[in-house]
């Protein structure tokens, strides 16, 4: 969205504030990190005492876009350009990679950077760099000219 209006920036900033509030709330109330790959990945284990809050968090996460739709009067836009096989390959990489690397954009990005964790700073620098190079290769080398 090149040349996006000021409104786009305000909405992004406001959305970021809400995400930060969610992260702060989980920390200050429950003492836990709002790391979504960890919360989702640990749901694949045998249920334990942390399963109920993790399930509740995920229910809330899914309800979020529905609440947005009610408040805004329209659905949040979601445009997926990737083909089906690419989506499957990417999903496998994201699932395996976030568990191997102990976090994703939420746990390492939002929570980890906020407490200046060395591990999270290294993780964010790594996944940002690899994501930027991947988009560069896909858009400007292999599919040059395809939007």
């Amino acid at each position: 969205m090149p040349g996006a209006g000021a409104e786009t920036y305000w909405l992004s900033w406001g959305g970021g504030i809400l995400i930060g509030l969610a992260s702060a709330a989980l920390l200050l109330l429950n003492g836990r990190v709002a790391g979504i790959s960890g919360i989702a990945g640990n749901m694949l284990r045998r249920p334990d005492r942390d399963t109920p809050w993790r399930a509740a968090f995920l229910v809330g996460l899914l309800a979020g876009p529905l609440l947005f739709t009610v408040l805004a009067g329209h659905r949040p836009p979601v445009h997926v350009l990737a083909s089906w096989p690419v989506l499957v390959f990417a999903g496998l990489l994201v699932g395996f990679g976030t568990r191997l690397g102990s976090g994703c954009t939420s746990g390492h990005g939002v929570s980890g950077l906020a407490r200046l964790s060395r591990r999270s700073i290294a993780a964010v620098a790594t996944f940002m760099a690899f994501a930027i190079v991947t988009v560069f290769l896909v858009r400007h080398v292999f599919l040059d000219g395809v939007p």
Binding site: I17, G60, F68, V138
Partner: protein, 142 residues
């Protein structure tokens, strides 16, 4: 109460993702496309989120324990190792290819998009694959 708190946190998170435009893989890829038609707006998402999250952390340092739990349960490791960097690299490649990271992909499930379902199914399979790999006794676990 802990369950209600987690539900509220999840709801705020999902609402924030939707408001910020993070649910849209095209926007995310536009943010990552720094050499092309770069859309820097999503940097404001991270800025806003990290800022408020940092305030939460500062506050947490001045309380004995979380409001609803006996103690904070926060990762304390400081070791930057091959697992962390290799996993983050794989994640970055997948994120760039699809434009979805775990939070937005799960959150977008409620909008009923088939492509989000396929991505999340593959993602859970990848997570499960990791769990199988580390549960093998021959693999040293960290």
């Amino acid at each position: 109460m802990k369950i209600a708190a987690a539900l509220l946190a999840g709801l705020l998170f999902g609402l924030g993702l939707a408001l910020a435009g993070m649910l849209d893989p095209v926007r995310v890829q536009g943010f990552l496309d720094v050499t092309g038609a770069w859309d820097p707006s999503l940097a404001f998402v991270l800025g806003g989120a990290v800022g408020v999250s940092a305030l939460g952390n500062l506050l947490a340092r001045h309380v004995r324990h979380p409001l609803l739990a006996a103690a904070f349960d926060i990762p304390s490791s400081r070791r930057v190792d091959a697992k962390l960097l290799g996993g983050s690299a794989l994640f970055g490649i997948g994120w760039g290819l699809a434009g979805f990271c775990p939070g937005p992909a799960l959150s977008a499930l409620s909008l009923g998009l088939p492509k989000a379902f396929v991505f999340v199914a593959a993602m859970l399979l990848g997570m499960w694959g990791y769990k199988i790999m580390i549960s093998k006794p021959s693999q040293p676990s960290a």
